[in-house]
């Protein structure tokens, strides 16, 4: 007996239909944080790398790392209030 072959292309219309029924996710809200603004502006002295993974850093590490152009946290006029 011939082996039944699965044609994935046959599943595509059902997939498109199922996707169309699901409500699209809303677009991202504009970021009001200083970090977001710095990322978006491609500022050469932006405080960090916009797509680097999150890091668990202690405060000492945090001061050492990041971009050398970034002002220290305490004097950064754009830093969010704590």
């Amino acid at each position: 007996m011939a082996k039944a072959r699965i044609k994935l292309s046959h599943a595509l219309p059902a997939l498109a239909l199922a996707a169309a029924v699901v409500a699209p996710m809303p677009q991202a809200l504009s970021s009001l944080s200083a970090t977001g603004v710095a990322h978006a502006s491609s500022n050469p002295c932006a405080p960090s790398n916009p797509c680097a993974p999150s890091k668990k850093m202690d405060k000492k590490m945090e001061k050492k790392s990041s971009n050398p152009c970034a002002p220290s946290k305490s004097s950064n006029p754009c830093a969010p209030s704590k």
């Binding site: 072959r5 699965i6 044609k7 994935l8 292309s9 599943a11 595509l12 059902a14 997939l15 199922a18 996707a19 169309a20 029924v21 699901v22 699209p24 996710m25 809303p26 677009q27 991202a28 809200l29 504009s30 970021s31 944080s33 970090t35 977001g36 990322h39 978006a40 491609s42 500022n43 050469p44 932006a46 960090s48 790398n49 916009p50 797509c51 680097a52 993974p53 999150s54 890091k55 668990k56 850093m57 590490m61 790392s65």
Partner: protein, 239 residues
Amino acid sequence: MTQSSSLLSSHAPRGRRFTVDLLRKLAPQERSDLYACGLKALEATQSLLKQGKTVISEIIGNATYVEWEHYPPRDAKSRTGALFYYHAHAASQRMPSEHGHFHVFAPNDRADCPYDQRYTHIAGLSVDAQGMPLRVFTTNQWVTAECWENAERVCTLARQAAFKDARPHNVSKWLDAVLAFFRPQIDLVTHMRDARAKALMDRGRIHLLKDRRTHILSQCRIDFSTQIVALEELGADAP
């Protein structure tokens, strides 16, 4: 992306013809394996859709979706050290129809990498508002602060990276399947990345990897339908 034309990333051609030509370079067994990955990718997508979810709704959950924020907030990590997160750039930096993208990283224990950069970026994966894959792309080194490796090494790391035990599980399962299904395009953009970087450095931009004018180095449009139809045209089928 707001860049002058000389700074634009390297784009792979799009469409079925290009995809067929790309996949034709694979051995028949590799195409069949890829087709099996396609089955897993469609099943993972369907499984979410049947519950009224998408890969995006699953990863964002009830949180407010804000530009640049990471979802999940501390990134999703597997036991192997591979990790990923989802986010969106500012609207002006998003490709048309892009809702956001995944950044996918492999662990990298190379001794000369700084302690806090022991990872290498495998690829970015853009999706639309229904969570359907739109493109894969590579980024400049400064964008991800990664331990930079050449294309061959990135491709090797990509094959070793698995996310299946990272949370949310539905997303990591979907991501594993989708990345495997579009592996030829990921390999392609990775090699295009190196070619593009070399070309720019040869033109005098010797500090390219830290040059903040260049974010994306290469990209390729992808979609389920084109990949599946191209594989079937080349005779691949599921076992």
